[in-house]
Symmetry: C2
Subunit: 236 residues, 2 copies
Amino acid sequence: MTRYEHPTRILVAIDCIIFGFDGEELDLLLIKRNFEPEKGKWSLMGGFLNETEDLEKGAERILYDLTGLKNIFVEQIGTFGKVSRDPVERTLSVVFFALINIADHDQEAVKAHNANWITLGKKPKLIFDHDDMVRMALEHLRYNAALHPLGFELLPERFTIPQLQKLYEAIYDMKLDRRNFSRKILSTGLLIDTGEKDENSTTKKAGLFRLDRERYQKKFYSFWNFIPNPALPEAL
Amino acid sequence: MTRYEHPTRILVAIDCIIFGFDGEELDLLLIKRNFEPEKGKWSLMGGFLNETEDLEKGAERILYDLTGLKNIFVEQIGTFGKVSRDPVERTLSVVFFALINIADHDQEAVKAHNANWITLGKKPKLIFDHDDMVRMALEHLRYNAALHPLGFELLPERFTIPQLQKLYEAIYDMKLDRRNFSRKILSTGLLIDTGEKDENSTTKKAGLFRLDRERYQKKFYSFWNFIPNPALPEAL
DNA sequence: AAATTATTGTGTACTATTGACACATTCCAA
DNA sequence: TTGGAATGTGTCAATAGTACACAATAATTT
């Protein structure tokens, strides 16, 4: 096969920031790196892109290989390419971001792969520029959850409004008014009342809702202005 | 130098979508490709990333080489990596998006490099997946101009409010109410009245404003909710 | 020089949305 | 049965958004 004359071909990695929600705080799925350099240090889920593999497929493969998880929400959020970002050789890293609802997924599979859910607030220092990637991913999450009904990806199929509120409070690290939140979320018309109650509760059982998947497509922009003044930048 | 054992290294290109504003419509800076394949066809500004070059530097270099333009606003918007996107060999393309105010820049330099400003509405078909890139860039512009005071990058140093309004109308392909627009834009506190008038006008001369660069930093999030319901997706 | 036309600058009334807050209800446990 | 903790719903004032009307300016026409 003929090739372009340009001399430089570069190693391409894929790194994944995986967010989960444990009901109280945002969690990250991290792994202890099992090869040199920086072996044993905390790292994002990552791997190298194969010659015959699309970027998104690569991200899904890496997620599956390292966690046993399939069919999860992934989205590309950027590419990191500083010349010296990897000490071994120049490596471009295409960064993906994934949202998982912890409850509905197989915890054993995750553990068997040596992956760990770690609360965002307790995140250890990560290798290379992975901290920057996490920062970017959180910013991406904050942007997108303010504009689109994205948070549902982090919740189980059926959820209560107070759960949803806690999720938003975790994402934006702010308190929201219970009554105003409820009014606003219901007015989107995206929630279907299942009529059931959350049996796990020890006080008044909250009603269980589920996402109206049909309207979700049509009203993907309905969250525009959902969060008044999200604390978007910096953080962490 | 030791290298990773992974066998695949990939050619990395950089492509730039350059938006300009001619006072009426959004323009794209396009070029006729001067090498095979697809030689002579319309294309985005592009080139290959060098071994010792950061991504952003590469984008700036390519912009300068192909247009003679320097110091322009660039931002990475994504990476395209479909296995078959380039028929010659697998090539990843990191896509940047740039905003230029046409009036203040050197038109001769642009022409000398065989680059052409083309109205977005009259965009010819582009090579490879460049049409998808333009679509993504427009979406990116629409998102960001609705959330942040980004439009100013497309206007000259001093501009009138009607000019600014026409820019927004071009970006979102919608009409805005003159009076409400004026009220809203002035209430951001980002505009400084220079006291001067636009002498180019043949009717009532509009007042010239300039951006308050200091507040621009501090109020980068003040445009949140500036455009009511931007027509965000599809387009083109 | 007055009238005309096109465009700019400012104001006002009405409606919708937001933010701050109160009260009644449900469930479990003491 | 009573109290604590959480949920569901409602009210009101303030804010912001929408749809308008009218006066002012500059060049051109009569």
